[in-house]
Symmetry: C2
Protein backbone atom coordinates (compact mmCIF):
# COMPACT_ATOMS: atom_id res chain seq x y z
CA UNK A 1 0.00 0.00 0.00
CA UNK A 2 3.02 2.23 0.52
CA UNK A 3 6.37 2.19 -1.20
CA UNK A 4 8.98 4.80 -0.41
CA UNK A 5 7.00 7.97 0.12
CA UNK A 6 4.16 7.00 -2.20
CA UNK A 7 0.80 5.74 -0.95
CA UNK A 8 -1.21 3.54 -3.34
CA UNK A 9 -5.00 3.56 -3.28
CA UNK A 10 -6.62 0.17 -3.86
CA UNK A 11 -10.20 1.39 -3.95
CA UNK A 12 -9.31 4.23 -6.36
CA UNK A 13 -11.01 7.28 -4.94
CA UNK A 14 -12.50 9.35 -7.77
CA UNK A 15 -12.70 13.04 -8.55
CA UNK A 16 -16.40 13.00 -9.37
CA UNK A 17 -16.89 16.73 -9.71
CA UNK A 18 -14.82 19.90 -10.00
CA UNK A 19 -15.33 23.62 -10.39
CA UNK A 20 -13.23 26.70 -10.97
CA UNK A 21 -13.66 30.45 -10.64
CA UNK A 22 -11.10 32.79 -12.19
CA UNK A 23 -10.38 36.50 -12.43
CA UNK A 24 -10.60 38.93 -15.33
CA UNK A 25 -6.98 38.63 -16.42
CA UNK A 26 -7.09 34.82 -16.26
CA UNK A 27 -10.26 34.84 -18.34
CA UNK A 28 -8.28 36.14 -21.31
CA UNK A 29 -6.12 33.03 -21.33
CA UNK A 30 -6.82 29.33 -21.57
CA UNK A 31 -9.09 29.43 -18.52
CA UNK A 32 -11.64 31.66 -20.23
CA UNK A 33 -13.16 28.68 -22.02
CA UNK A 34 -12.84 26.18 -19.18
CA UNK A 35 -13.61 27.92 -15.87
CA UNK A 36 -17.20 27.80 -14.58
CA UNK A 37 -17.24 31.43 -13.53
CA UNK A 38 -15.00 34.14 -14.95
CA UNK A 39 -15.05 37.50 -13.25
CA UNK A 40 -15.18 40.85 -14.99
CA UNK A 41 -14.32 42.63 -11.78
CA UNK A 42 -11.81 40.94 -9.48
CA UNK A 43 -13.43 42.56 -6.42
CA UNK A 44 -16.31 40.09 -6.96
CA UNK A 45 -18.79 42.54 -5.39
CA UNK A 46 -16.89 42.49 -2.09
CA UNK A 47 -15.32 45.38 -0.21
CA UNK A 48 -11.78 43.97 0.13
CA UNK A 49 -9.44 41.76 -1.91
CA UNK A 50 -9.35 39.20 0.92
CA UNK A 51 -13.14 38.93 1.02
CA UNK A 52 -13.16 38.53 -2.78
CA UNK A 53 -10.63 35.69 -2.48
CA UNK A 54 -12.76 34.01 0.18
CA UNK A 55 -15.89 34.39 -1.95
CA UNK A 56 -14.19 32.80 -4.97
CA UNK A 57 -13.13 29.84 -2.82
CA UNK A 58 -16.54 29.44 -1.23
CA UNK A 59 -18.20 29.68 -4.67
CA UNK A 60 -15.87 27.06 -6.18
CA UNK A 61 -16.66 24.69 -3.27
CA UNK A 62 -20.43 25.22 -3.64
CA UNK A 63 -20.26 24.78 -7.40
CA UNK A 64 -18.23 21.56 -7.20
CA UNK A 65 -20.77 20.13 -4.76
CA UNK A 66 -23.69 21.21 -6.92
CA UNK A 67 -22.19 20.09 -10.26
CA UNK A 68 -21.65 16.60 -8.84
CA UNK A 69 -25.32 16.37 -7.93
CA UNK A 70 -24.47 16.48 -4.24
CA UNK A 71 -25.86 18.61 -1.48
CA UNK A 72 -24.02 20.01 1.53
CA UNK A 73 -25.00 17.08 3.75
CA UNK A 74 -23.32 14.63 1.35
CA UNK A 75 -19.89 16.09 2.10
CA UNK A 76 -17.97 14.67 5.06
CA UNK A 77 -15.02 17.04 5.28
CA UNK A 78 -13.30 19.95 3.55
CA UNK A 79 -9.52 20.08 3.09
CA UNK A 80 -8.46 23.59 2.26
CA UNK A 81 -5.82 26.25 2.79
CA UNK A 82 -4.55 29.35 1.05
CA UNK A 83 -1.72 31.88 0.97
CA UNK A 84 -3.13 34.50 3.30
CA UNK A 85 -1.83 34.74 6.84
CA UNK A 86 -3.66 32.18 9.03
CA UNK A 87 -5.38 30.84 5.88
CA UNK A 88 -8.34 33.15 6.44
CA UNK A 89 -9.86 32.50 3.00
CA UNK A 90 -10.17 28.80 3.72
CA UNK A 91 -11.33 29.23 7.33
CA UNK A 92 -13.93 31.84 6.46
CA UNK A 93 -15.10 29.83 3.44
CA UNK A 94 -15.45 26.79 5.72
CA UNK A 95 -17.70 28.87 7.98
CA UNK A 96 -20.25 28.91 5.14
CA UNK A 97 -20.69 25.13 5.27
CA UNK A 98 -21.92 22.70 7.89
CA UNK A 99 -19.30 19.98 7.36
CA UNK A 100 -15.99 19.53 9.21
CA UNK A 101 -12.89 21.42 8.09
CA UNK A 102 -9.27 20.30 8.17
CA UNK A 103 -7.06 23.30 7.49
CA UNK A 104 -3.83 22.88 5.53
CA UNK A 105 -0.91 25.07 4.66
CA UNK A 106 1.43 24.10 1.91
CA UNK A 107 1.65 27.40 0.02
CA UNK A 108 1.04 26.86 -3.71
CA UNK A 109 1.17 23.05 -3.33
CA UNK A 110 -2.02 23.10 -1.26
CA UNK A 111 -4.11 21.66 -4.12
CA UNK A 112 -2.05 18.49 -4.36
CA UNK A 113 -1.76 18.17 -0.55
CA UNK A 114 -5.53 18.43 -0.20
CA UNK A 115 -6.14 15.91 -3.03
CA UNK A 116 -3.60 13.54 -1.46
CA UNK A 117 -5.10 13.71 2.03
CA UNK A 118 -8.64 13.65 0.67
CA UNK A 119 -7.90 10.51 -1.35
CA UNK A 120 -6.27 8.92 1.72
CA UNK A 121 -9.38 9.45 3.85
CA UNK A 122 -11.79 8.27 1.14
CA UNK A 123 -9.70 5.22 0.22
CA UNK A 124 -9.45 4.17 3.89
CA UNK A 125 -13.24 4.33 4.17
CA UNK A 126 -13.14 6.98 6.90
CA UNK A 127 -15.37 9.26 4.86
CA UNK A 128 -17.44 9.02 1.70
CA UNK A 129 -16.91 12.40 0.12
CA UNK A 130 -14.26 15.05 0.57
CA UNK A 131 -13.90 18.49 -0.98
CA UNK A 132 -10.32 19.58 -1.76
CA UNK A 133 -10.03 23.25 -2.59
CA UNK A 134 -7.79 26.27 -2.65
CA UNK A 135 -7.44 29.67 -4.25
CA UNK A 136 -5.51 32.93 -4.36
CA UNK A 137 -6.02 36.56 -5.36
CA UNK A 138 -3.38 38.70 -7.06
CA UNK A 139 -4.15 41.88 -5.14
CA UNK A 140 -4.43 40.20 -1.73
CA UNK A 141 -1.12 38.39 -2.28
CA UNK A 142 0.66 41.51 -3.54
CA UNK A 143 -0.16 43.58 -0.52
CA UNK A 144 0.62 40.79 1.92
CA UNK A 145 3.86 39.53 0.38
CA UNK A 146 5.17 42.45 -1.65
CA UNK A 147 4.16 46.09 -2.01
CA UNK A 148 0.92 48.09 -2.04
CA UNK A 149 -0.42 48.06 -5.62
CA UNK A 150 -0.73 51.86 -5.51
CA UNK A 151 3.04 52.08 -5.27
CA UNK A 152 3.40 50.76 -8.82
CA UNK A 153 6.62 48.89 -8.03
CA UNK A 154 8.61 47.66 -11.04
CA UNK A 155 8.56 43.88 -11.31
CA UNK A 156 11.85 42.09 -11.92
CA UNK A 157 12.01 39.80 -14.99
CA UNK A 158 12.16 36.61 -12.91
CA UNK A 159 8.90 37.42 -11.11
CA UNK A 160 5.53 35.71 -11.52
CA UNK A 161 1.98 36.95 -11.31
CA UNK A 162 -0.28 35.54 -8.58
CA UNK A 163 -3.35 33.97 -10.16
CA UNK A 164 -6.77 35.27 -9.14
CA UNK A 165 -8.90 32.17 -8.96
CA UNK A 166 -10.08 29.20 -6.95
CA UNK A 167 -10.59 25.54 -7.73
CA UNK A 168 -12.39 22.74 -5.92
CA UNK A 169 -12.73 18.98 -6.44
CA UNK A 170 -15.08 16.47 -4.86
CA UNK A 171 -13.37 13.14 -4.12
CA UNK A 172 -15.73 10.21 -3.61
CA UNK A 173 -15.87 6.43 -3.40
CA UNK A 174 -18.76 5.87 -5.73
CA UNK A 175 -19.60 7.23 -9.15
CA UNK A 176 -17.81 7.81 -12.39
CA UNK A 177 -14.81 10.01 -12.40
CA UNK A 178 -11.11 10.49 -12.62
CA UNK A 179 -9.31 8.07 -10.33
CA UNK A 180 -6.63 9.12 -7.88
CA UNK A 181 -4.35 6.10 -8.15
CA UNK A 182 -1.57 7.07 -5.79
CA UNK A 183 0.12 10.04 -4.19
CA UNK A 184 3.69 10.94 -3.30
CA UNK A 185 4.27 12.98 -0.15
CA UNK A 186 6.66 15.90 -0.56
CA UNK A 187 9.78 16.65 1.46
CA UNK A 188 11.07 20.10 2.27
CA UNK A 189 13.91 20.91 -0.15
CA UNK A 190 16.01 24.04 0.12
CA UNK A 191 18.81 24.77 -2.36
CA UNK A 192 19.61 28.07 -0.68
CA UNK A 193 17.76 30.42 -3.06
CA UNK A 194 17.05 33.69 -1.22
CA UNK A 195 15.55 35.80 -4.04
CA UNK A 196 11.85 36.12 -3.14
CA UNK A 197 11.14 37.23 -6.71
CA UNK A 198 12.52 33.99 -8.12
CA UNK A 199 10.13 31.39 -6.75
CA UNK A 200 10.45 29.21 -9.83
CA UNK A 201 14.14 28.62 -9.21
CA UNK A 202 13.49 28.01 -5.51
CA UNK A 203 10.68 25.49 -6.09
CA UNK A 204 12.07 23.53 -9.05
CA UNK A 205 14.39 21.33 -6.90
CA UNK A 206 11.48 20.34 -4.60
CA UNK A 207 9.38 19.40 -7.62
CA UNK A 208 12.25 17.43 -9.17
CA UNK A 209 12.78 15.59 -5.87
CA UNK A 210 9.10 14.58 -5.66
CA UNK A 211 8.84 13.58 -9.34
CA UNK A 212 11.97 11.42 -9.13
CA UNK A 213 10.79 9.72 -5.92
CA UNK A 214 7.40 9.22 -7.59
CA UNK A 215 8.91 7.57 -10.69
CA UNK A 216 11.04 5.29 -8.52
CA UNK A 217 8.26 4.37 -6.07
CA UNK A 218 5.75 3.64 -8.83
CA UNK A 219 8.31 2.12 -11.21
CA UNK A 220 7.15 4.39 -14.00
CA UNK A 221 8.97 6.71 -16.39
CA UNK A 222 7.85 10.05 -17.87
CA UNK A 223 6.76 8.13 -21.00
CA UNK A 224 4.05 6.39 -18.97
CA UNK A 225 2.18 9.68 -18.55
CA UNK A 226 0.20 11.68 -21.07
CA UNK A 227 1.11 14.82 -19.21
CA UNK A 228 3.19 15.76 -16.17
CA UNK A 229 1.96 18.95 -14.56
CA UNK A 230 3.90 21.13 -12.15
CA UNK A 231 2.17 23.84 -10.17
CA UNK A 232 3.59 27.26 -10.68
CA UNK A 233 7.26 27.12 -11.57
CA UNK A 234 6.83 29.55 -14.45
CA UNK A 235 9.04 29.57 -17.54
CA UNK A 236 12.44 29.73 -15.81
CA UNK A 237 11.52 27.26 -13.05
CA UNK A 238 10.21 24.82 -15.65
CA UNK A 239 13.52 24.86 -17.50
CA UNK A 240 15.35 24.21 -14.22
CA UNK A 241 12.96 21.34 -13.42
CA UNK A 242 13.63 19.73 -16.80
CA UNK A 243 17.38 20.01 -16.25
CA UNK A 244 17.27 18.62 -12.70
CA UNK A 245 15.14 15.59 -13.63
CA UNK A 246 17.17 14.97 -16.80
CA UNK A 247 20.35 14.87 -14.71
CA UNK A 248 18.81 12.03 -12.68
CA UNK A 249 17.89 10.07 -15.78
CA UNK A 250 14.29 11.13 -16.24
CA UNK A 251 13.62 13.16 -19.36
CA UNK A 252 10.26 14.86 -18.78
CA UNK A 253 10.71 17.51 -21.51
CA UNK A 254 8.17 15.97 -23.91
CA UNK A 255 5.49 15.53 -21.25
CA UNK A 256 5.91 18.46 -18.90
CA UNK A 257 3.50 21.38 -18.67
CA UNK A 258 3.55 24.01 -15.94
CA UNK A 259 0.26 25.57 -14.81
CA UNK A 260 2.01 28.91 -14.32
CA UNK A 261 3.39 28.79 -17.84
CA UNK A 262 0.07 28.10 -19.57
CA UNK A 263 -2.32 30.15 -17.48
CA UNK A 264 -1.79 33.48 -19.24
CA UNK A 265 -2.05 34.14 -22.95
CA UNK A 266 0.69 36.67 -23.34
CA UNK A 267 3.26 35.61 -20.83
CA UNK A 268 5.66 38.41 -21.75
CA UNK A 269 3.60 40.77 -19.63
CA UNK A 270 3.77 38.53 -16.63
CA UNK A 271 7.42 37.60 -17.13
CA UNK A 272 7.63 33.99 -15.95
CA UNK A 273 3.86 33.35 -15.91
CA UNK A 274 1.41 32.70 -13.11
CA UNK A 275 1.85 31.54 -9.52
CA UNK A 276 -0.15 31.27 -6.31
CA UNK A 277 -2.18 28.52 -4.69
CA UNK A 278 -5.00 29.29 -7.13
CA UNK A 279 -2.76 28.76 -10.17
CA UNK A 280 -2.54 24.96 -10.13
CA UNK A 281 -5.97 24.64 -8.48
CA UNK A 282 -7.81 26.52 -11.19
CA UNK A 283 -5.87 25.02 -14.13
CA UNK A 284 -6.46 21.50 -12.77
CA UNK A 285 -10.11 22.07 -11.85
CA UNK A 286 -11.00 23.41 -15.29
CA UNK A 287 -8.64 22.80 -18.21
CA UNK A 288 -6.89 19.57 -17.14
CA UNK A 289 -9.82 17.68 -15.63
CA UNK A 290 -12.12 18.68 -18.50
CA UNK A 291 -9.59 17.29 -20.99
CA UNK A 292 -9.22 14.14 -18.90
CA UNK A 293 -12.96 13.66 -18.79
CA UNK A 294 -13.04 14.04 -22.59
CA UNK A 295 -10.43 11.29 -22.86
CA UNK A 296 -7.66 13.55 -24.20
CA UNK A 297 -5.42 12.73 -21.26
CA UNK A 298 -5.66 9.29 -19.72
CA UNK A 299 -2.84 9.33 -17.20
CA UNK A 300 -1.75 12.54 -15.53
CA UNK A 301 0.84 13.29 -12.87
CA UNK A 302 -0.08 16.44 -10.96
CA UNK A 303 2.61 17.96 -8.74
CA UNK A 304 1.73 21.37 -7.36
CA UNK A 305 4.68 23.25 -5.91
CA UNK A 306 4.95 25.50 -2.87
CA UNK A 307 7.46 27.98 -1.48
CA UNK A 308 7.26 27.87 2.31
CA UNK A 309 8.66 31.30 3.04
CA UNK A 310 7.11 34.28 4.82
CA UNK A 311 7.99 37.97 4.73
CA UNK A 312 9.45 37.50 8.22
CA UNK A 313 11.67 34.56 7.28
CA UNK A 314 13.00 36.38 4.23
CA UNK A 315 13.49 39.56 6.24
CA UNK A 316 15.57 37.53 8.70
CA UNK A 317 17.85 36.39 5.87
CA UNK A 318 16.52 32.85 5.51
CA UNK A 319 16.51 31.01 2.22
CA UNK A 320 13.28 29.57 0.77
CA UNK A 321 12.33 26.00 1.77
CA UNK A 322 10.04 24.46 -0.84
CA UNK A 323 7.81 21.44 -1.19
CA UNK A 324 5.83 19.56 -3.82
CA UNK A 325 3.23 16.84 -3.31
CA UNK A 326 2.13 14.73 -6.27
CA UNK A 327 -0.96 12.72 -7.18
CA UNK A 328 -1.38 10.39 -10.12
CA UNK A 329 -4.71 10.70 -11.91
CA UNK A 330 -6.17 8.17 -14.32
CA UNK A 331 -9.30 8.02 -16.40
CA UNK B 1 -15.57 3.00 10.98
CA UNK B 2 -17.20 6.43 10.92
CA UNK B 3 -20.24 7.68 12.75
CA UNK B 4 -21.35 11.28 12.44
CA UNK B 5 -18.11 13.24 12.28
CA UNK B 6 -16.11 10.73 14.34
CA UNK B 7 -13.67 8.26 12.81
CA UNK B 8 -12.99 5.07 14.79
CA UNK B 9 -9.62 3.33 14.60
CA UNK B 10 -9.79 -0.45 14.61
CA UNK B 11 -6.04 -1.06 14.76
CA UNK B 12 -5.60 1.47 17.57
CA UNK B 13 -2.63 3.58 16.55
CA UNK B 14 -0.45 4.29 19.58
CA UNK B 15 1.40 7.32 20.89
CA UNK B 16 4.64 5.45 21.56
CA UNK B 17 6.79 8.44 22.40
CA UNK B 18 6.41 12.12 23.23
CA UNK B 19 8.56 15.09 24.12
CA UNK B 20 8.10 18.69 25.21
CA UNK B 21 10.23 21.81 25.40
CA UNK B 22 9.00 24.81 27.37
CA UNK B 23 10.05 28.37 28.15
CA UNK B 24 11.27 29.98 31.35
CA UNK B 25 7.88 31.24 32.52
CA UNK B 26 6.23 27.88 31.79
CA UNK B 27 8.98 26.13 33.76
CA UNK B 28 7.71 27.76 36.97
CA UNK B 29 4.36 26.03 36.61
CA UNK B 30 3.28 22.43 36.29
CA UNK B 31 5.44 21.89 33.21
CA UNK B 32 8.66 22.45 35.15
CA UNK B 33 8.58 18.87 36.43
CA UNK B 34 7.23 17.25 33.27
CA UNK B 35 8.84 18.86 30.20
CA UNK B 36 12.01 17.30 28.80
CA UNK B 37 13.77 20.61 28.27
CA UNK B 38 12.98 23.80 30.16
CA UNK B 39 14.63 26.97 28.95
CA UNK B 40 16.23 29.59 31.15
CA UNK B 41 16.40 32.01 28.25
CA UNK B 42 13.47 32.01 25.81
CA UNK B 43 15.78 33.12 22.97
CA UNK B 44 17.16 29.55 23.04
CA UNK B 45 20.55 30.78 21.75
CA UNK B 46 18.95 32.09 18.55
CA UNK B 47 18.97 35.62 17.17
CA UNK B 48 15.19 36.06 16.75
CA UNK B 49 12.03 34.91 18.53
CA UNK B 50 10.86 33.13 15.37
CA UNK B 51 14.08 31.15 15.10
CA UNK B 52 13.80 30.24 18.80
CA UNK B 53 10.26 28.96 18.18
CA UNK B 54 11.45 26.89 15.24
CA UNK B 55 14.34 25.47 17.30
CA UNK B 56 11.98 24.44 20.11
CA UNK B 57 9.75 22.64 17.61
CA UNK B 58 12.66 20.96 15.85
CA UNK B 59 14.11 19.91 19.23
CA UNK B 60 10.79 18.47 20.42
CA UNK B 61 10.48 16.45 17.19
CA UNK B 62 14.06 15.12 17.49
CA UNK B 63 13.57 14.27 21.16
CA UNK B 64 10.29 12.43 20.56
CA UNK B 65 11.97 10.35 17.85
CA UNK B 66 14.98 9.63 20.05
CA UNK B 67 13.01 8.87 23.24
CA UNK B 68 10.98 6.26 21.35
CA UNK B 69 14.15 4.49 20.31
CA UNK B 70 13.58 5.51 16.71
CA UNK B 71 15.88 7.14 14.22
CA UNK B 72 15.01 9.63 11.50
CA UNK B 73 14.61 6.90 8.86
CA UNK B 74 11.89 5.21 10.94
CA UNK B 75 9.56 8.18 10.53
CA UNK B 76 7.30 8.25 7.46
CA UNK B 77 5.80 11.71 7.70
CA UNK B 78 5.56 14.82 9.88
CA UNK B 79 2.26 16.61 10.49
CA UNK B 80 2.91 20.05 11.86
CA UNK B 81 1.81 23.66 11.81
CA UNK B 82 2.08 26.73 14.02
CA UNK B 83 0.73 30.24 14.55
CA UNK B 84 3.27 32.22 12.57
CA UNK B 85 2.35 33.54 9.13
CA UNK B 86 2.86 30.77 6.54
CA UNK B 87 3.65 28.35 9.41
CA UNK B 88 7.37 29.08 9.09
CA UNK B 89 8.29 27.32 12.34
CA UNK B 90 6.88 24.03 11.08
CA UNK B 91 8.24 24.39 7.53
CA UNK B 92 11.71 25.36 8.68
CA UNK B 93 11.72 22.63 11.34
CA UNK B 94 10.70 20.12 8.63
CA UNK B 95 13.74 21.22 6.61
CA UNK B 96 15.92 19.67 9.35
CA UNK B 97 14.56 16.18 8.66
CA UNK B 98 14.62 13.85 5.67
CA UNK B 99 11.02 12.62 5.89
CA UNK B 100 7.94 14.02 4.14
CA UNK B 101 6.03 16.94 5.61
CA UNK B 102 2.31 17.64 5.50
CA UNK B 103 1.71 21.19 6.70
CA UNK B 104 -1.41 22.04 8.68
CA UNK B 105 -3.00 25.17 9.96
CA UNK B 106 -5.62 25.01 12.62
CA UNK B 107 -4.36 27.74 14.96
CA UNK B 108 -4.21 26.45 18.55
CA UNK B 109 -6.07 23.23 17.65
CA UNK B 110 -3.15 22.10 15.48
CA UNK B 111 -2.06 19.48 18.04
CA UNK B 112 -5.36 17.61 17.89
CA UNK B 113 -5.63 18.01 14.10
CA UNK B 114 -2.15 16.54 13.65
CA UNK B 115 -2.89 13.66 16.07
CA UNK B 116 -6.19 12.98 14.27
CA UNK B 117 -4.66 12.93 10.77
CA UNK B 118 -1.59 11.05 11.99
CA UNK B 119 -3.77 8.36 13.57
CA UNK B 120 -5.83 8.15 10.37
CA UNK B 121 -2.77 7.49 8.22
CA UNK B 122 -1.27 4.95 10.63
CA UNK B 123 -4.57 3.11 11.18
CA UNK B 124 -5.14 2.84 7.41
CA UNK B 125 -1.69 1.28 7.03
CA UNK B 126 -0.47 4.03 4.71
CA UNK B 127 2.49 4.69 6.98
CA UNK B 128 4.09 3.07 9.99
CA UNK B 129 5.15 6.05 12.05
CA UNK B 130 4.05 9.67 12.09
CA UNK B 131 5.27 12.62 14.13
CA UNK B 132 2.57 15.09 15.18
CA UNK B 133 3.98 18.33 16.54
CA UNK B 134 3.39 22.01 17.12
CA UNK B 135 4.59 24.92 19.21
CA UNK B 136 4.38 28.65 19.84
CA UNK B 137 6.47 31.45 21.33
CA UNK B 138 5.07 34.30 23.40
CA UNK B 139 7.28 37.01 21.94
CA UNK B 140 6.87 35.90 18.30
CA UNK B 141 3.09 35.76 18.70
CA UNK B 142 2.88 39.13 20.46
CA UNK B 143 4.69 40.99 17.75
CA UNK B 144 2.79 39.27 14.96
CA UNK B 145 -0.72 39.44 16.42
CA UNK B 146 -0.59 42.33 18.89
CA UNK B 147 1.97 44.99 19.72
CA UNK B 148 5.75 45.23 19.92
CA UNK B 149 6.80 44.07 23.40
CA UNK B 150 8.83 47.26 23.83
CA UNK B 151 5.60 49.25 23.75
CA UNK B 152 4.56 47.76 27.10
CA UNK B 153 0.87 47.72 26.17
CA UNK B 154 -1.56 47.13 29.04
CA UNK B 155 -3.27 43.76 28.77
CA UNK B 156 -7.04 43.62 29.24
CA UNK B 157 -8.37 41.26 31.96
CA UNK B 158 -9.89 38.82 29.44
CA UNK B 159 -6.57 38.29 27.67
CA UNK B 160 -4.39 35.18 27.70
CA UNK B 161 -0.64 34.64 27.55
CA UNK B 162 0.80 32.75 24.55
CA UNK B 163 2.74 29.73 25.81
CA UNK B 164 6.41 29.43 24.86
CA UNK B 165 6.89 25.76 24.16
CA UNK B 166 6.62 22.89 21.70
CA UNK B 167 5.34 19.35 21.94
CA UNK B 168 5.72 16.32 19.68
CA UNK B 169 4.26 12.81 19.65
CA UNK B 170 5.23 9.73 17.64
CA UNK B 171 2.20 7.73 16.50
CA UNK B 172 2.96 4.16 15.48
CA UNK B 173 1.34 0.82 14.72
CA UNK B 174 3.56 -1.35 16.82
CA UNK B 175 4.79 -1.02 20.37
CA UNK B 176 3.37 -0.18 23.74
CA UNK B 177 1.73 3.14 24.16
CA UNK B 178 -1.33 5.23 24.60
CA UNK B 179 -3.96 4.27 22.04
CA UNK B 180 -5.78 6.79 19.87
CA UNK B 181 -9.20 5.15 19.80
CA UNK B 182 -11.13 7.63 17.69
CA UNK B 183 -11.20 11.24 16.62
CA UNK B 184 -13.92 13.81 15.98
CA UNK B 185 -13.37 16.32 13.18
CA UNK B 186 -14.16 19.91 14.07
CA UNK B 187 -16.49 22.30 12.30
CA UNK B 188 -16.00 26.03 12.05
CA UNK B 189 -18.22 27.71 14.64
CA UNK B 190 -18.64 31.46 14.90
CA UNK B 191 -20.88 33.03 17.55
CA UNK B 192 -19.98 36.54 16.38
CA UNK B 193 -17.36 37.40 19.01
CA UNK B 194 -15.16 40.19 17.65
CA UNK B 195 -12.96 40.93 20.68
CA UNK B 196 -9.49 39.64 19.71
CA UNK B 197 -8.48 39.78 23.36
CA UNK B 198 -11.24 37.39 24.34
CA UNK B 199 -10.28 34.20 22.54
CA UNK B 200 -11.69 32.00 25.29
CA UNK B 201 -15.21 33.29 24.72
CA UNK B 202 -14.78 32.96 20.94
CA UNK B 203 -13.45 29.38 21.06
CA UNK B 204 -15.72 27.88 23.75
CA UNK B 205 -18.71 27.34 21.39
CA UNK B 206 -16.51 25.44 18.88
CA UNK B 207 -15.18 23.23 21.66
CA UNK B 208 -18.69 22.61 23.03
CA UNK B 209 -19.89 21.72 19.51
CA UNK B 210 -17.11 19.16 19.02
CA UNK B 211 -17.46 17.64 22.51
CA UNK B 212 -21.23 17.22 22.11
CA UNK B 213 -20.85 15.65 18.66
CA UNK B 214 -18.15 13.40 20.11
CA UNK B 215 -20.35 12.22 22.99
CA UNK B 216 -23.22 11.51 20.60
CA UNK B 217 -21.11 9.78 17.94
CA UNK B 218 -19.30 7.58 20.48
CA UNK B 219 -22.35 7.09 22.70
CA UNK B 220 -20.38 8.14 25.75
CA UNK B 221 -20.99 10.66 28.51
CA UNK B 222 -18.53 12.87 30.39
CA UNK B 223 -18.54 10.25 33.17
CA UNK B 224 -16.88 7.76 30.84
CA UNK B 225 -13.68 9.84 30.82
CA UNK B 226 -11.10 10.31 33.54
CA UNK B 227 -10.38 13.74 32.19
CA UNK B 228 -11.70 15.96 29.37
CA UNK B 229 -9.07 18.41 28.19
CA UNK B 230 -9.69 21.56 26.21
CA UNK B 231 -6.82 23.42 24.55
CA UNK B 232 -6.53 27.01 25.61
CA UNK B 233 -9.88 28.44 26.59
CA UNK B 234 -8.47 29.96 29.77
CA UNK B 235 -10.52 30.56 32.91
CA UNK B 236 -13.40 32.53 31.36
CA UNK B 237 -13.65 30.33 28.24
CA UNK B 238 -13.70 27.21 30.40
CA UNK B 239 -16.68 28.53 32.37
CA UNK B 240 -18.48 29.26 29.11
CA UNK B 241 -17.67 25.75 27.80
CA UNK B 242 -19.13 24.17 30.94
CA UNK B 243 -22.30 26.23 30.56
CA UNK B 244 -22.72 25.46 26.86
CA UNK B 245 -22.27 21.70 27.27
CA UNK B 246 -24.46 21.64 30.39
CA UNK B 247 -27.26 23.32 28.42
CA UNK B 248 -27.13 20.42 25.95
CA UNK B 249 -27.36 17.83 28.71
CA UNK B 250 -23.66 17.02 29.18
CA UNK B 251 -22.25 18.06 32.54
CA UNK B 252 -18.47 18.08 32.09
CA UNK B 253 -17.73 20.20 35.16
CA UNK B 254 -16.27 17.36 37.24
CA UNK B 255 -14.02 16.10 34.46
CA UNK B 256 -12.94 19.19 32.56
CA UNK B 257 -9.44 20.67 32.66
CA UNK B 258 -8.18 23.38 30.33
CA UNK B 259 -4.51 23.39 29.32
CA UNK B 260 -4.49 27.19 29.39
CA UNK B 261 -5.89 27.22 32.89
CA UNK B 262 -3.33 24.84 34.40
CA UNK B 263 -0.18 25.82 32.52
CA UNK B 264 0.83 28.74 34.76
CA UNK B 265 1.25 28.67 38.51
CA UNK B 266 -0.06 32.07 39.37
CA UNK B 267 -2.74 32.69 36.81
CA UNK B 268 -3.62 36.11 38.20
CA UNK B 269 -0.61 37.52 36.38
CA UNK B 270 -1.69 36.06 33.10
CA UNK B 271 -5.37 36.90 33.60
CA UNK B 272 -7.18 34.01 31.90
CA UNK B 273 -4.14 31.70 31.64
CA UNK B 274 -2.17 30.40 28.69
CA UNK B 275 -2.96 30.10 25.01
CA UNK B 276 -1.20 29.40 21.72
CA UNK B 277 -0.61 26.28 19.65
CA UNK B 278 2.15 25.31 22.07
CA UNK B 279 -0.20 25.44 25.08
CA UNK B 280 -2.13 22.22 24.50
CA UNK B 281 0.82 20.60 22.71
CA UNK B 282 3.22 21.01 25.60
CA UNK B 283 0.70 20.17 28.35
CA UNK B 284 -0.35 17.01 26.48
CA UNK B 285 3.18 15.95 25.54
CA UNK B 286 4.47 16.21 29.10
CA UNK B 287 1.99 16.36 31.98
CA UNK B 288 -1.03 14.49 30.52
CA UNK B 289 0.75 11.70 28.65
CA UNK B 290 3.16 11.10 31.55
CA UNK B 291 0.18 10.70 33.91
CA UNK B 292 -1.53 8.41 31.40
CA UNK B 293 1.56 6.28 31.08
CA UNK B 294 1.70 6.03 34.89
CA UNK B 295 -1.90 4.80 34.87
CA UNK B 296 -3.36 7.85 36.60
CA UNK B 297 -5.64 8.60 33.67
CA UNK B 298 -6.95 5.68 31.63
CA UNK B 299 -9.34 7.38 29.25
CA UNK B 300 -8.78 10.94 28.12
CA UNK B 301 -10.64 13.18 25.67
CA UNK B 302 -8.29 15.77 24.20
CA UNK B 303 -9.88 18.67 22.31
CA UNK B 304 -7.47 21.45 21.41
CA UNK B 305 -9.18 24.67 20.37
CA UNK B 306 -8.26 27.19 17.69
CA UNK B 307 -9.30 30.73 16.75
CA UNK B 308 -9.03 31.08 12.97
CA UNK B 309 -8.67 34.84 12.77
CA UNK B 310 -5.86 36.99 11.40
CA UNK B 311 -4.94 40.61 12.05
CA UNK B 312 -6.33 41.37 8.58
CA UNK B 313 -9.69 39.68 9.15
CA UNK B 314 -10.13 41.46 12.48
CA UNK B 315 -9.03 44.75 10.96
CA UNK B 316 -11.72 44.29 8.32
CA UNK B 317 -14.37 43.94 11.03
CA UNK B 318 -14.84 40.17 10.82
CA UNK B 319 -15.79 38.08 13.83
CA UNK B 320 -13.65 35.14 14.94
CA UNK B 321 -14.41 31.71 13.40
CA UNK B 322 -13.19 28.93 15.70
CA UNK B 323 -12.62 25.19 15.54
CA UNK B 324 -11.83 22.27 17.80
CA UNK B 325 -10.76 18.77 16.82
CA UNK B 326 -10.88 15.98 19.41
CA UNK B 327 -9.09 12.67 19.90
CA UNK B 328 -9.92 10.00 22.46
CA UNK B 329 -6.89 8.48 24.16
CA UNK B 330 -6.84 5.25 26.13
CA UNK B 331 -4.21 3.36 28.05
Amino acid sequence: MKKGNTVFFNTSPCITSFAAVCGSKEKEGVLGKFADITLDDDMYEESTFEKAECKMLSTAISLAIQKGGYSEKDIDVLFSGDLLNQIISASFAARDFNFPFLGLYSACSTMSESLLLGAMLVNAGYVNRVVAATGSHFAAAERQYRYPLEQGTTRPPQSQWTVTGAGACVIAHEGEGIKIVNGTMGKVVDYGVTDVNNMGAAMAPACADTLIRHFRDTETTPDDYDIIISGDLGALGSRILKDLTWEKGFDISEKHVDCGEIVYNVIEDEFQGGSGAGCSAVVLSSYILTKMRAGQYKRVLFAATGALLSTVSSGQGESIPCISHAVQLEL
